[in-house]
Symmetry: C2
Subunit: 417 residues, 2 copies
Amino acid sequence: MARIVMKFGGTSMAGIERIRNVAARVKREVDAGNQVAVVVSAMAGETDRLVGFCREASSLYDAKEYDVVVSAGEQITSGLLAIALQAAGCKARSWLGWQLPINTSDAHGSARIGEIDTAALDASLADGVVAVIPGFQGVADGQRVTTLGRGGSDTSAVAMAAAMKADRCDIYTDVDGVYTTDPRIVPRARKLSKVTYEEMLELASVGAKVLQTRSVGLAMKENVRVRVLSSFEDGDTNDGHRGTLIVGEEEIDDMERQLITGIAHDKNEAKITLTQVSDRPGSVAAIFAPLADAGINVDMIVQNVAHSTGSTDVTFTVPAADLARSLDVLDKAKDAIGYATIVHDTRVAKVSVVGVGMRSHAGVASTMFTTLGERGINIQAIATSEIKVSVLIEEDYTELAVRVLHTAYGLDAEDAA
Amino acid sequence: MARIVMKFGGTSMAGIERIRNVAARVKREVDAGNQVAVVVSAMAGETDRLVGFCREASSLYDAKEYDVVVSAGEQITSGLLAIALQAAGCKARSWLGWQLPINTSDAHGSARIGEIDTAALDASLADGVVAVIPGFQGVADGQRVTTLGRGGSDTSAVAMAAAMKADRCDIYTDVDGVYTTDPRIVPRARKLSKVTYEEMLELASVGAKVLQTRSVGLAMKENVRVRVLSSFEDGDTNDGHRGTLIVGEEEIDDMERQLITGIAHDKNEAKITLTQVSDRPGSVAAIFAPLADAGINVDMIVQNVAHSTGSTDVTFTVPAADLARSLDVLDKAKDAIGYATIVHDTRVAKVSVVGVGMRSHAGVASTMFTTLGERGINIQAIATSEIKVSVLIEEDYTELAVRVLHTAYGLDAEDAA
């Protein structure tokens, strides 16, 4: 007997027919003798509908009331899945965020999960009752409904798995696992059978949108074995070849280890260059402090060699969605910073190679620069971490860059065409 | 300063534009210095959508989970109205059933309201915060979400008014009050400015569907002053001429009192006749006991004069929706009852004259029978109470009967065309 958490996204919950399929899938795990908690998203499109209502009611809506409204989507699907499970012959009940309770901070709209009380849940699971838990929601101080922010259901599932000491947290989604890169760009991309938390974090944060980044960070912290797999694919879920397992580095043995695990890309960045910034102590701080105060996440930073005039150009990237606000902040801080002009460009993309293997191998970055250079792809900025090298390039070259890097690092599947 | 409860139905909450109108109406009461609690229904059509999901998921759905699903409709509108009120400049917050809490029985799907804890609410109202309360929902034992049954939001509003010791409970609906009869049938019908609880109960239960019957019974028990008025009509809500006030008999003075308050009709009845029932002690009980056991509400009963053969015909009415089930019950009990045949007819209507004034006046029934007889309308059954006389007639004559009775009892408005 194992304890498992299964999480189903909005596409899997879109309509009663699909909810019935989810129930059948859950029943298979119950019939195999497992204790099961299921975490569900709202029906696809429902959260957007509810968020739209809030925005229409007021552009400055109260986050407490927003949470009351949008949490209803998962409340509905959790009740419906409990009904469908019972119809399939499984004992089941829903547990709303306030009922378990799933305690969270009171940061409404983007609350953080705290302690989850599993006393009542444990007793219910021991009785063979499947627990159906709405993702994305919790309760602050036992009083008000909270939500975790968009995509929060993955985090709910991992947090439940940690609290329940589950053997496994299976995230059912519309892809069948994590790939070496986007298969729409590289048909010879391979599905990874295992990936480390750190790699997944880098792959997720640079654009491989399979799992919410926060949920991966939590899984790493709590050491939860997460598996990503398709809800539209049949087969034995205990087959090690299904989906992708996300685990600690120690669980990946040397034979399985690759130098590079995957190539990610992200077109949602914008590049900003401030020209002729005076080359004196504190001038760089004067740029980034007001952006940080505005909650804008600055990513890649390049400071060019100083001009002979004693000034320098500073280039950095921000999320494209924050570009207008960033320009506004920088315009207001112009006197404090001291620069000549602002140049910005949204036609850029970040391409990253990720792999824990690069810790012990030199030459990864050099291979990247050579490979891109041979194709005439100009590198506008570079950022590195222990397990990642990212470059900023012109957006039009994104797919070309991903393809040539995928081949250069030996990631192409052998059996594909 | 007064304390008032305002209740808005699904038509008034259908979409953000209408919710904004509701907010404006609530704000007027707040600006007049009142403490206000607002009870809301789900958006028109939403409860049907959610009930449909439950039925699709399983024909035998778990009422506990049904309550989780369908209560979401009012949760959504209560959050949205709180947002709209804040946007209009009113302090406001939503209170879900489990938050106040509104304690109910654990009869899921048709729970009865018990004690409502108003300690936190009172403090919030005293701070000038408008309380927005989802109708139709409560909580059993502080654990599971309950709902009150369809139309339960009227009952929620009256129960809140009683618990809060509100001065008034204003039920906003899509009609502007209670009329002497259905104005679509009798254009000269008059709006009543006051009606007693008892009269309203009789009018509601015989088909004047302005207020849920349970809510009127509760208002009578708790002595809550209820006013029915239109949410689509502007004007001073403290104008005594707006809407219809539902109050105790002692609040209606002699000058206002009419012999007959209104004429109601109901086409949702079915007539059943059992022929040649043996005329012996216990035979009538053998008919009605199994129907009662099946939860079928028998209304008008007529036992014809015994045949010379020692048998009699028994005629009664049941809700048309329960006809098939009633026939099934009676068929199974045929041996125990002992009858020859069952005859049924859904092409019947019940027409009732209602008024507390008839307590002290004879001749009301006689006027009814004479009036209908003059028009050749055959009476198939008669039932009377202290303040009501009902007759069962052929359905095709319904409108004619209502019109001639309205004139006969002097209810026609003088100024109408």
